[in-house]
């Protein structure tokens, strides 16, 4: 019953987010600030992880290619498919649920604990619109970060594959171009946009409706990470079945 009540509260929160908008002059600066903090501020970790995961995928594939009949270009193919279909949109989103999600929950939760949200409401400000809407809009730029992740992941695979002596650069590029399905890119970005909405709203929900003090802010951050990850994993399955199945 608690889960159902939470889903209901979440739906009501989403409706409230889009009601009574804040002045555009103020909203504009809030959106820019959130793009900086949520997306631009995450690029470092995204690039770092993407590079090494791409490299590891290439090495693992190479080490498992023991049959001489299978072409070495498969390393490039496997790296591309792994990175574009799953690693960049899903794995990076789980990491973002931890990094960005816990930041969102703790910042909104602290505002709740210190009565800053009550202060907004007393002034007549739609606090949900003021706090959550800019995060949703900022996360619309998240696919750009995922595009960078895809590029860097594949680049990491190329570096590891070529400089590790597993295949030639030409083989890797040939593998990258083998059986390329453009819809896979669309599939990845559709998933990314949906995950972006989840990463912006579920942590906001846990921060906004939290009760208690500093300890509860920490607990809410953990809970929000768990639930954001669970929802991403379930949606990933459903979207894959719907779009590729």
């Amino acid at each position: 019953m608690n889960y159902l009540a939470s889903i209901g509260s979440y739906a009501i929160m989403i409706r409230e987010v889009f009601k009574k908008p804040t002045k555009w002059r103020i909203m504009k600066s809030l959106i820019l600030k959130e793009i900086d903090e949520l997306v631009y501020g995450s690029l470092g970790i995204i690039i770092f992880i993407s590079f090494f995961i791409g490299a590891v995928v290439a090495i693992q594939t190479a080490l498992n290619l023991t049959n001489p009949i299978i072409p070495r270009s498969l390393i490039g193919f496997a790296t591309r498919q792994s990175v574009i279909l799953e690693f960049a949109p899903t794995f990076v989103s789980i990491i973002m649920a931890g990094k960005v999600g816990s930041y969102i929950t703790s910042s909104i939760g602290t505002m709740r604990v210190t009565e800053q949200i009550d202060a907004l409401e007393v002034m007549g400000v739609n606090s949900l619109n003021y706090l959550v809407f800019p995060k949703i809009i900022a996360m619309l730029f998240y696919p750009f970060a995922i595009a960078i992740s895809m590029y860097v992941g594949v680049f990491g695979g190329w570096i590891a594959g070529v400089f590790g002596g597993f295949l030639t650069s030409a083989d890797f590029v040939s593998g990258l171009q083998t059986d390329f399905v453009p819809f896979h890119i669309a599939y990845a970005f559709i998933k990314t946009l949906i995950f972006a909405f989840i990463i912006a709203t579920i942590p906001s929900f846990h921060g906004y409706y939290m009760k208690g003090g500093a300890l509860e802010v920490g607990k809410a951050s953990t809970t929000s990470f768990v639930w954001t990850s669970v929802v991403i994993i379930i949606l990933n399955y459903l979207l894959t079945q719907l779009l590729l199945g």
Binding site: K20, T22, K23, R25, I26, T110, T114, E115, Q116, D118, A119, E121, V122, M123, G124, V125
Partner: protein
Amino acid sequence: MIEVNDIHKSFGDAHILKGISTTFENGKTNLIIGQSGSGKTVFLKCLLGLFSPEKGSIVYDGKTYSSLTEKEKRALRQEMGMVFQGSALFDSMTVEGNVKFPLEMFTNQSKSEMEDRVNTVLKRVNLVDAHHKFPAEISGGMQKRVAIARAIVMNPKYLFCDEPNSGLDPKTAILIDNLIKEITEEFDITTIINTHDMNSVMQIGEKILFLKDGLKEWEGTKNEIFKTDNEAVTNFVYSSDLFKKVRQMYIEERN
């Protein structure tokens, strides 16, 4: 003027407010006192419109809150200023940003007009050199003054304060009390203060409302509180030896 008529508020099985009626007049500092759990904060949040009472009505200068449209409610809220117990300043904004915030949200004033207004109210609360400091960089007393400045920047008709003296030293607490009283009289605001501080009661309590178990147990002025025979009030107000002695002296003087 705010008229409260028989308001009731419950949370689940807990009946917090059990029918409170009273009137708060313009230009006066009205104090709500009572033990922890007596319903003071819930009562204040009902007055602010943060909680909706299940029964009864709250009338703000002839406008019954429950019968207003959402737009009218928001407009009414813009006539309210609130000083929270912990000041509730926005951490990410400077002192100037905090005070300017309501102006930016609800007016179409130019940048220079807003700056003038911010300077005026910060000067009024005796805070002139803190414009560019963040809340974490100033003392608790200064934070309270910033909160008061933010609350009055829109020229509110109603000022609500929740424990404005909590966490302050006695000298700063008196300064804050006097500041609230001066502002109330100067701008003819209806001020309602939720407090535990008996110094505030004696200093600025023009009307005092004593709540007990969600009911109005007693109301009167600071002079009447000396004379009252209400046991619950005397037990609460004169719980410290100092106030017991003050009351004893008052009674002896009167006799």
